[in-house]
Amino acid sequence: MKKMRGISLAALSTVALLALAPPVSAQGDLSVGRKMLVEDNPGELWIDQGKGLFYQKRGPNKVSLEQCDFGMGPGKLEGAAARLPRYFADTDRVEDLESRLLTCMTVLQGFDRKALIKQAIGRPRTKGSDMEALALYVTSHSNGMKVNVTLNHQKEYDAYKAGEYIFYRRSGQTDFGCVQCHGEPNKRIRLQDLVHMTSKAGAQEVASTWPAYRGAHYIVRTMQWRLNDCVWQMRLPDLKYGTDYSIALTTYLNHRGNDAVMQVPGFKR
């Protein structure tokens, strides 16, 4: 059977339009500023904030998060975030960093899940949410370690494949799936670099740099926020916090990002 690729057709149009040299090079013109910002990242201020929250006895049950199991055993944080998302038997579900924190904050500390979710994405120019600070604190214990998201449980395989499917699924007003913006190298929306997520290096960048300081918001953000904002630009409706959709996408990206060295907080424009 004779087959054609949509992508090569799109490439044809590029040739037809005689693309001029791009006016800006993200590698050249923009790199000096980026390097300076990454080296001294205000997001580091959130690590202490998260640490305080982690050890504080909080919630109706007045306990800390020290007994939270992020997959390496209760209270074991070293390298735990580098292995997320993963399957958890207690919830019989694959959970990512944010959804696991939600689980611990509700089950251990007794917080109301709905109330937590309502505040999970902090307002710009504030101290951000407890979730954002906690997510960074937990992930900071994986700094210098390699991303190692494994597929063992059937639900992990399911999440991976569903995430892949969603990555390519086009719908809505813009006809966008994730791949329309993240499927080719060296692309930008205006001046903003788009991570080339179908490449190993791109997936590694995603897997190893969240949570990140978002310069334009002056606070630390998590991957769940990133997905929410993407979906908003794609003209889709409001993405719920911590659903299987996000967890599946994150499983797909992080597993392919294996062996990247974790370095958080990242710095995003």
Binding site: A10, L12, R190, D238, D244
Partner: protein, 210 residues
């Protein structure tokens, strides 16, 4: 071997898992799981939920990974796209390039936050997000090809005007499943707005042709 795995994944989908036998679910199972995730993931009114529902072309154009578009699928997408194109009541395809210039630099419209569609007088044409426009303009994307000099290279004949109108209205009529949104067909832009975009693209006075 392969059929065995598929059986196992079918079991997995119903919750029957035997240790050591987990593997990737087959295509049909994946689709079922993922579609369920999509429709559970959003808070939306029935009207907004429609944005999650794929039309026939979107289904065809959502090839996973290296999976290829067949020739007959490509032909179907082109056919559907051609049939979708509507022209302005006036019949005039070339509007005002100045209005087009403004629209080209407007990336807003149609986004939903907390259940509400953003309030705008009209939707932007989103061009700047992905295409280089006037020479020397810095804050432009490169997901799509540069449009700098578009009209200079092609002229502004009626045929070019029509080709350009069709391309903006439904890009898939020209390149099936390309990355470009079908701006007219999805209702993001009105036919009249598209005439302004055509003018912006081909008018010799337009900044992109300077």
């Amino acid at each position: 071997m392969k059929t065995t795995w598929i059986k196992w994944s079918a079991f997995a989908a119903t919750g029957l898992i035997v240790a050591g036998c987990a593997t990737y679910p087959d295509q049909a199972t994946t689709k079922q799981l993922a579609e369920k995730m999509v429709f559970e993931a959003f808070t939306a009114s029935p009207e907004h939920k429609q944005r999650l529902v794929q039309d026939r072309s979107q289904q065809i154009c959502s090839k996973v990974g290296d999976e290829k578009l067949t020739q007959s699928e490509a032909a179907e997408v082109v056919k559907l796209a051609r049939a979708s194109i509507k022209y302005p009541a006036s019949g005039k395809l070339v509007g005002d390039w100045k209005t087009g210039d403004k629209l080209a630099h407007n990336g807003s419209g149609d986004r939903i936050r907390r259940g509400k569609v953003e309030k705008r007088k009209e939707n932007g044409a989103l061009c700047q997000n992905c295409h280089a426009l006037a020479p020397g303009e810095i804050n432009v994307g490169n997901v799509g090809p540069a449009l700098t000099g578009y009209g200079k290279q092609r002229g502004n004949s009626e045929a070019i005007a029509k080709y350009t109108y069709d391309k903006i209205y439904n890009a898939w009529a020209v390149f099936p499943c390309s990355n470009m949104p079908r701006l007219g067909a999805t209702g993001h832009l009105t036919p009249e707005q598209i005439t302004h975009m055509v003018a912006f693209m081909i008018d010799p006075q337009s900044p992109i042709n300077k």
